[in-house]
Each structure stands twice: as structure tokens, then as C-alpha cells.
């Protein structure tokens, strides 16, 4: 039984540590903020120029000057600071953010990531994704294991890259995979999912960890 989006987000939240500064991408990654354990302090960075991002405002409290990188209205916290886009990406590029959780179209066994363009389709741009994957200490991809019958964990990405050799971990609906110098390793499998199913749905060379956790 594959994990739901919520379960995937909950699993990603286990990568958080007390005191971490974290950047969450748009989509499933945004849900991770709902699973920060009680008593753990995590500051969320929004790359348009804010550290210490709060939840959505109550209706009527929306402020046009207070949005996140997804252009959604948000709120501030007692810890919040604001800064320019140059300072924001100096923070990102300089390796000060501990963890980035973001979506992807493809991830290769060498850590290559593709998530910004499909040749032949209208290109919207990479936004801050290339900076985030190049600069953040640990990059976790949160995505469906397979999309529209297309495998997404590949030997080599076929789409134009967002970053080369940048992914540290992939969490899909089927399992959790680390990416390192020795390639891609399955370390956890979702309940009732088999090794055979994962192998069949993965193009990348995949090792199963000795201490693999079958949920």
C-alpha cells in the first residue's frame, strides 16, 4: 500500500532536526510543515526574502506585502526577519540552509535532478530551484515514484537538469532512497510494497540496504 501525500510529508519531516533552517518547495513539500514534531524548533525560509515563515493568515488578515515564494499570503512569527532577494540567495548559495525539500520530475542515480523544463513545452523558468539544489546542505526530493507510467528514478535524467549530483535523498510513495557516491539505495519501503514492485518501477540501479526497513 503506497504512502499518501500526507504520509510522504510525514516521512520527510523525520529528516528535520532541532534548530534546522529549512526551505520547502511548492506542492507536497509544503505539507511537511504540518509534521514538525512538538518541541522541535525549525525555521522555514522563503527564498523571496523571509526567514521564520508562519502559517496562512486568518481570513481578513491577508497582507499583500507578506507572501511566500509560491506567492501565497502567509504570516510572520516572533523569530521572523526580512531581507532582499540578494541576501536571501546569499544565505542559500552560502550553504546556511540545512535542508531543502522539493519536488522533481526526474532523479538520476548520480544525484542529478530535473524539475524545471520539458523541451517543447512552454518554459516557465527555474525560479530559485537551481540555487537551492546547488547551495543547500541537504536536498531531499519528495515525489511520486512513477508519473503517468513514466519512471522517474533513472540511470540518467532525460530532461534538462536543475542540478548535477545534488540530491541526497528521495522520498516517494513507495519508499525512501538515499543517493550517494555509491549510487542509489532503498532504505525504507512503504507498507505492503515489495522489492519487486520497486525494482520494476525504477530504472536507476538500485541497491537494497542491509538494514532495509519494511514499514
Amino acid at each position: 500500500m503506497a504512502w499518501t501525500r500526507e504520509e510522504m510529508a510525514a516521512r520527510a519531516a523525520k529528516e528535520l532536526r532541532d534548530g534546522y533552517y529549512v526551505n520547502l518547495g511548492i506542492g507536497i513539500p509544503t505539507l511537511v510543515s504540518n509534521y514538525i514534531p512538538d518541541g522541535m524548533t525549525v525555521q522555514l525560509q522563503s527564498e523571496n526574502g523571509m526567514l521564520g515563515m508562519g502559517p496562512f493568515p486568518y481570513e481578513g488578515d491577508e497582507d499583500p506585502d507578506l507572501i511566500n515564494a509560491g506567492k501565497q499570503t502567509i504570516t510572520e512569527l516572533p523569530t521572523t526577519s526580512y531581507f532582499s532577494s540578494a541576501d536571501s540567495f546569499a544565505m542559500i548559495r552560502g550553504g546556511h540552509i540545512d535542508l531543502s525539500i522539493l519536488g522533481a520530475m526526474q532523479v538520476a542515480e548520480n544525484g542529478d535532478l530535473a524539475n524545471w523544463m520539458i523541451p517543447g513545452k512552454m518554459i516557465k523558468g527555474m525560479g530559485g530551484a537551481m540555487d537551492l539544489v546547488a547551495g543547500v546542505k541537504k536536498v531531499v526530493v519528495l515525489m511520486e515514484h512513477v508519473a503517468k507510467e513514466e519512471k522517474k528514478l533513472l540511470k540518467r535524467c532525460t530532461l534538462p537538469l536543475t542540478g548535477a549530483g545534488v540530491v541526497n535523498m528521495v522520498i516517494t510513495d513507495l519508499g525512501v532512497f538515499t543517493v550517494g557516491k555509491d549510487g542509489m539505495t532503498a532504505i525504507e519501503i512503504a507498507p505492503h510494497v515489495t522489492r519487486e514492485e520497486i525494482s520494476a518501477k525504477t530504472e536507476a540501479s538500485l541497491r537494497f540496504a542491509d538494514n532495509l526497513v519494511q514499514h
Partner: protein
């Protein structure tokens, strides 16, 4: 040297010409120099190269200059929310140069800071690095990116004084401070125009040296692109 002008049109007088490069602050519709963009549209100046993180939306922000086909080229990081943009781009009528958002921000800062080029890890091994110089530092590959300057920068601030000192409000700061430093001429619209000495000098983000002209954008209507809320308990 009076920097204060009565409105956007007079503040832009003499500064616009076809084929020029304009930087426009803002992220999405947040912190955009909306009155100055409208005044640029009214002059009909054309073949503009616009450096701005986004391209506005239909009928708002830079979307207004796209509608009238005044833009030849955009240098941006993300242009997703604009149908006019998509149509013109797909028809080959609009050029676009995509920059990673942090590279774009840093290129503008570098331009204003007299730095013609710098190295970054961002984009190494991607299309973005093609045709650009690469170099290793401490065993890691970096790509060289160049500084950006503009003939004119238009920015939005929360408060400004008659010397041109600016402060910004919350996430409406975004690209405005760097762009203010990188325009040969910088024109600012401010929601609150105050006397010199009113803003604590430790709080000023853009010193007046970077701002040549300033207008009071009284009663400005600021748009929200994505209204997201939570329910009261």
C-alpha cells in the same frame, strides 16, 4: 537637487527611450512599482529589455507592457502566470533569458557594486552554464556570471524621505534594493513620503545616493496573487 516629483509621469520625463534596458522591482505582484509601470506604458516607449524576476500577470504589473507589445526581451527567473506572455513567446515575438533567481539577484547586486563578474555553483552542469566560463575552486566547479546594469531602475518602497532614503515592508523588499543600486537612474514610488530625519538612519535599506527621483504613491491599491487563508479555530 530636489528629488521629489509630483507623479509618475513627471518623474519619468526625459528618462525613457526606445530599446533601453529597464529593471523593475517586485516578486510576483508584491512590491512592484505599479504606478511607474503604468506611466511607462502611457509613453508608448518600445523595444524594451526588462529585467524583473517575473513578468506580472495579465492586466497587472509588467503584464501591462506585454499587452501593448512594448517589451522586446525579458530577463527573469519565472514567468508562469501570464497568458499574454505565453502567447507572444510561443509566437516568437518575445525573447526571454532565464536566470536562476539567486543568480539574477546577485548579478544585479554585482552590477550596482562595480563587480563585472563572479562565480557561482548555481547552474553548473545545466543548460544555464552553456557558453559560460567554468572554473574550479577547491576542487569544485563554478560558472562565471556577469553583473547587470540598467538605463533605468523603477522600484517600490514602503517609506521614503526627500533625500531618497528608502525602507521596505516585509516581503515587498525582494528585488527592489539591488535594482535601486544598478540603474543609471533610479525612480522610486513610496507609499509614505516623509521629511528627512524621520526614518531612523539605522533602519534605512537604500541610502538616498541610489535614488534620483521619488514619487508619493498615495492610497495605492496592492494586489494579492494567491489569497491563502486558514480557518479560525
Amino acid at each position: 537637487m530636489a528629488k521629489v516629483y509630483s507623479d509618475a509621469t513627471s518623474a519619468l520625463a526625459g528618462l525613457l527611450k526606445d530599446d533601453m534596458v529597464i529593471m523593475a522591482g517586485g516578486f510576483g505582484l508584491c512590491g512592484i512599482p505599479s504606478l511607474l509601470i503604468k506611466a511607462i506604458r502611457e509613453t508608448g516607449v518600445k523595444n524594451l529589455t526588462i529585467i524583473s524576476n517575473n513578468a506580472g500577470v495579465d492586466g497587472e504589473g509588467l503584464g501591462l507592457l506585454l499587452e501593448t507589445r512594448q517589451v522586446k526581451k525579458m530577463i527573469s527567473s519565472y514567468v508562469g502566470e501570464n497568458k499574454t506572455f505565453a502567447q507572444q513567446y510561443l509566437a516568437g515575438e518575445l525573447e526571454i533569458e532565464f536566470n536562476p533567481q539567486g543568480t539574477l539577484a546577485e548579478r544585479i547586486r554585482a552590477g550596482g557594486a562595480g563587480i563585472p563578474a563572479f562565480y557561482t555553483k548555481t547552474g553548473v552542469g545545466t543548460l544555464i552554464a552553456q557558453g559560460k566560463d567554468e572554473r574550479e575552486f577547491n576542487g569544485e566547479k563554478y560558472v562565471m556570471e556577469t553583473g547587470l546594469l540598467a538605463d533605468l531602475a523603477v522600484v517600490h518602497a514602503w517609506k521614503g524621505d526627500t533625500e531618497g532614503n528608502l525602507v521596505y515592508r516585509k516581503s515587498a523588499r525582494n528585488f527592489n534594493p539591488m535594482m535601486a543600486t544598478a540603474g543609471k537612474v533610479t525612480v522610486a514610488q513610496v507609499e509614505h513620503l516623509v521629511e528627512c530625519g524621520t526614518i531612523d538612519p539605522d533602519h534605512i535599506i537604500t541610502p538616498g545616493i541610489f535614488v534620483q527621483r521619488i514619487i508619493h504613491a498615495a492610497g495605492l491599491e496592492k494586489k494579492i496573487e494567491q489569497r491563502t487563508v486558514r480557518q479560525r479555530a
